[in-house]
Amino acid sequence: MSFTSIFKKGEDKLLEQILQYYLTLESCYDELQVYLNEIKAGSGSDSTYKIISDLEKKADETHEKLAESIASGSFFSYIRDDFLQLLEKMDYVADYSKDAAKIFKEYNIESNSINYLFGKTLFLDFLDAINDTLKSFEDVLKSIKKSAPKELLVKIKNVESNEEKADYVKDKVLIAIHNNNKELPVLDVITLRDIVNILDNVADSAEDSSDIIIQLIAKGYK
């Protein structure tokens, strides 16, 4: 640590960079939603898929740079490992978003099955619940710079309840897919089930990340 850096509040800068990184991850999921709307309407465009893929790649590069800066820097050094773990968990938001898009793009799912998924299950509600979970975690990251732990814990609780809601809707979607297997080809049932589970991991990643924030609070105030 250099003498001058002792008096700079580098912590805020680092937290801002982490927030920006998360916004990139989140935009990957936003683009996935655009892609899914295209699929619902007929077919997903390659350009949207490319945007998702590029965002995921960009997020990976930012992740690497941030991890390097956390590992070699002196801010929050006593909770450095937890910050690295946080980045790792957050990164899954983009990874799983891209994986879901990839399955839609590369697997031949019949249009009937797509229509069934979007029209007769709670899939759109499921996507909204995931979105709410991601937004509530964004709120946590925005507050970490200025909020006291008590306030932060309330926001973390919000992430958890949104994730639980996503879980609940996910179960309904899975049940609907499985119980109507006579109308859908078996392979599509398997593929759609995989997609739902992969998307559920997006919400789980946000929730796991919020758990690490609890860990940061526990260690940072010790």
Binding site: M1, F3, I6, F7, K9, E11, D12, L15, S74, F75, F76, S77, Y78, R80, I144, K145, K146, S147, A148, P149, K150, L216, I217, K219, G220, Y221, K222
Partner: protein, 311 residues
Amino acid sequence: MTFDFIIEAILLLLLIYLFGLNNGSVFEGGLAGSGLYNYTSAAVLVGVGIFLGTLIQGRYTGSFAQDMGGVLSGNAAIVLLAVQLVLFLLFTFINLPLSITQSLVGGWLSVLLILGIVIKAGPMDSLFFWWVISPFISMAFTAVFYKALRRLSFHFSISSVSYSSRLAAFALVFYTSFVLGANNVGFIMGAFGLNYIFLVLLAIAAAVGALGASKMSKAIGEDLIVAGPLGITAALLGGTTVLLFLTYLGLPASLTTTILGAMIGVGIVSKPRMFNRRYLVMVVLSWVMAFIMGFVIVYGVLTPLKLLLHF
């Protein structure tokens, strides 16, 4: 400049180097060990702090040494310093912090006895009394202070707590070194009648010693207790303030003892409590042994030497 003086000067510089190494492990180590600081920055602060502390407030414990027996020199001083070096190496070998002050005072009392100087009971009783109770005062004071600090910190964001801890770390390394200089180095200056030019050399030697404190810091920071930045801040502030209080009473005392007492205070009020009991027992034993060994070994070496060399 006599041969005795040169030997004495070399031994003193070596002792202060080890003193920096040993004490650095306690106060600087907590900070660097918890990742808040690097050793080079801390070592520079240690040197400046020790120098200024001795210069500005070293007279308190310095006058204690002079009131008790005057300035030490010659063979007796050389034996006293050599024994401290041996003891330090022994304790380093078993990876335990040694209170050089306690072992030095123990040896110094032997020298006074052998030279036939009457030891005043009042100040000695007071010294032992404070030695025994100071770690407990430190423990209680720090436990309360840590609780209050934690409660206060919950009103601020993690970013502000981290920033404040860094600033506090910077100030505390200096404060601790300052008090260490005022108390311990002040006593050595008084006991050996050193001048201010020598003081600069001592401060440099202590800073160089503090640079090498990383291994022992780890032993205390991680082996004894698991503490975060607030815990370390509270322990350093609590332990050092108790030593500052003893300095104003004119009593040389061990920073190792007061800060470890403070760290235990932090550990007691922390949940979950994480103590390495075995290591704790070893540390407490080293507090007691430091004085006894300093006294016994110097007495044992000087008694036959006195007969041979007639000093």
